[in-house]
């Protein structure tokens, strides 16, 4: 396989290059102990993903196990309210309740082909942990999930789901005891178990090739949006695609096939927490600077001395001090527009969708819905909001506002 074949799409401005960079961001900033594993992935992931038998198994599971294609639903009452045409991409209807499973299915099929029989993963809210534990049960692989000690306490239902699915949930007790530290512990576990273990990262973060690999597995979202829009409106391209960004996997999937379609405006909703000037926020592009965390160079919330700052958001899934390098590049180049949505705004948007459409969104996805009020879209325009997950896991939080 030649390098040009390896990096199909390299002619586009937003694809990863051979060294794993999107513009200034990306790369593989890893200690030598991780090098053999990461290099093995770098050299094999595209070849494996492009194999016919991989694609057959992947597509079959997406259809019959995950329930794809997920509907692209025209939200009539929400559209009336915002005087435009709003479509919801219903990733909340995926098996396990969010888009995360698209990636875990892809990665577990890859892990099997690399001869790995143990899986390690990190999780924040528990959605990626559940999606990983699910595919490990499906494939009969051993599964260890690191989760911050604090997140274990506040996401008990997902901890129970992971345990029922047979995963071992290990508390990350270092640092701030949340997602960032769970990721550190998962990386350390991989360093200590380099031969038989594959690390399933849950977002478009980490050393190359993870950001590109995860984006490819999630790209099914925008692939379906295009064909569904064509069918419904006669046009493949919407005017806007809106998605929330923590690390950014659902946004990467929703943006993927529109990256080079410059007439499509890409909108990212970050978690503003209590407000970007409150000191309690996770709005990385508003508060961060270029830096290196978890194996790649990106935008990072940090002190003047380069120590990573603890983020704050009502949504555990957006509670991360960085964003994936692709998103850093989309921000830096102006290709995507970023909004910081406060906790309160996201809750309002969550209740609004529930009342107007009978759909309870994950609080993460409610951040994306909150952007609608800032958009001022025209009556003849088309807006797609990626509804990345369902809100069942967030009921306790929503109830506080009822």
């Amino acid at each position: 396989m030649t390098s040009t074949e390896q990096h199909k799409g390299q002619e586009t401005a937003f694809a990863v290059n051979a060294k794993g960079y999107y513009g200034k961001f990306g790369g593989a900033y890893i200690p030598e102990m991780l090098h053999p594993n990461v290099e093995e992935l770098q050299q094999n992931y595209l070849q494996i993903i492009h194999q016919a038998d991989f694609q057959e198994e992947f597509q079959n599971l997406l259809k019959n196990y995950v329930g794809r294609p997920t509907p692209l639903y025209y939200a009539t009452r929400l559209s009336e309210k915002y005087k435009t045409n709003i479509y919801l991409k219903r990733e909340d209807l995926c098996h396990t309740g969010a888009h995360k499973v698209n990636n875990t299915i892809g990665q577990i099929l890859l892990a099997k082909r690399l001869g790995k029989h143990k899986i390690v993963a990190e999780t924040g809210a528990g959605q990626h942990g559940v999606a990983t534990a699910t595919v490990c049960a499906l494939m009969g692989l051993e599964c260890i999930v690191y989760m911050g000690e604090i997140d274990i306490q506040r996401q008990a239902p997902n901890v129970a789901r992971m345990k029922m699915l047979g995963a071992e949930v290990r508390p990350a007790t270092s640092g701030s005891k949340t997602l960032k530290d769970a990721t550190n512990e998962a990386l350390r576990h991989w360093i200590n178990n380099p031969v038989d273990t594959h690390y399933i990262i849950g977002s478009v973060v980490g050393p190359h090739p993870y950001p590109d690999m995860v984006a490819r597995f999630q790209s099914i979202i925008s692939e379906e949006i295009r064909s569904q829009l064509l069918e419904k409106t006669g046009k493949e391209n919407p005017d806007y695609v809106i998605a929330c960004v923590g690390g950014g996997s659902n946004a990467a999937g929703a943006f993927y096939h529109f990256l080079d379609e410059l007439d499509v405006k890409l909108i990212a909703a970050e978690a503003g927490g209590h407000g970007i000037h409150s000191g309690m926020s996770a709005a990385t592009t508003f508060l961060g600077k270029p830096g290196v965390l978890h194996g790649s160079k990106s935008i990072l919330m940090q002190t003047e001395d380069g120590q990573v700052v603890e983020p704050q958001s009502i949504s555990a899934g957006l509670d991360y001090p960085g964003i994936g390098p692709l998103h850093a590049h989309l921000w830096d180049s102006g290709r995507a527009k970023f909004y910081a949505i406060t906790d309160e705004e996201s809750i309002e948007a969550g209740f609004e969708l529930t009342k107007l459409e009978g759909i309870i969104p994950a609080i993460e996805s409610a951040h994306a819905l909150s952007v609608l009020k800032y958009l001022n879209a025209e009556a003849n325009e088309t807006v797609v909001v990626n509804l990345s997950g369902r809100g069942d896991k967030d009921l306790a939080t929503y109830m506080k506002y009822l």
Binding site: E32, M33, P36, P290, G291, Q302
Partner: protein
Amino acid sequence: MNRITELFQTKLHSVLNLYFTAGYPTLNDTMPILEALQEAGADIAEIGMPYSDPVADGETIQQSNQIALDNGMSLKVLFEQLKGMREKVQIPVILMGYINPVLQFGIENFCQKCQEVGVDGMILPDLPMDEYEEEYKPVFDKYGLLNIFLITPQTTEARIRRIDEISGGFIYMVSSASVTGKTSGISDEMEAYFNRVNAMNLKNPRLIGFGIKDHETFTKASEYAAGAIIGSQFIRVLQAASDIKTDVVEYIKSVKVG
């Protein structure tokens, strides 16, 4: 001449490198520990620059990093503390740490400060080789600083040769696949790996790190390399120390002569 290069010109066996975290156990312990190391006969002092997310380190060094940060340690404070270091300390000094704080400090600024205070080299485990060669090496060279790379039992021969090409001073030979502070002792598997690397006739000497903690492991490691690095165990000694100078001198004596 660079002090690390000079050291290995005269000494190629039983070289002892001690790692400690700057600002640990208390903020102003950095210089007293350096002086105690020199007095005790350590060959190289490796100062850890604390970081919030040290992924290659085990619990002991992680905790020392966190405590040092809580104590108020930063690169600015560290360079302040090291001003005038060369009036008291003549052994080679290495700074070890993760790339992000160095990036925020600014590479050129960092290297300039290192030269000013008399630092001889760097260990930056998450700095990739390609980026080092393209962006960092010219700056390191300009300020006379050596960059020390790690190899592990999984590092391929081709990659070891490339690391040998671009390394200066010595190569940090990680004894087994793990984070710091996890392993103890030297297994047959490790011996095979050390022998394999020794047979390669590399231009740089090697120091063995990870799992070295006492006279027995130090002596054993010294049979297979120019010497060894002690990190986590020395942090434990510092953590328990009632008097830094006495306890450091006593520990190093116990490592060197048993």
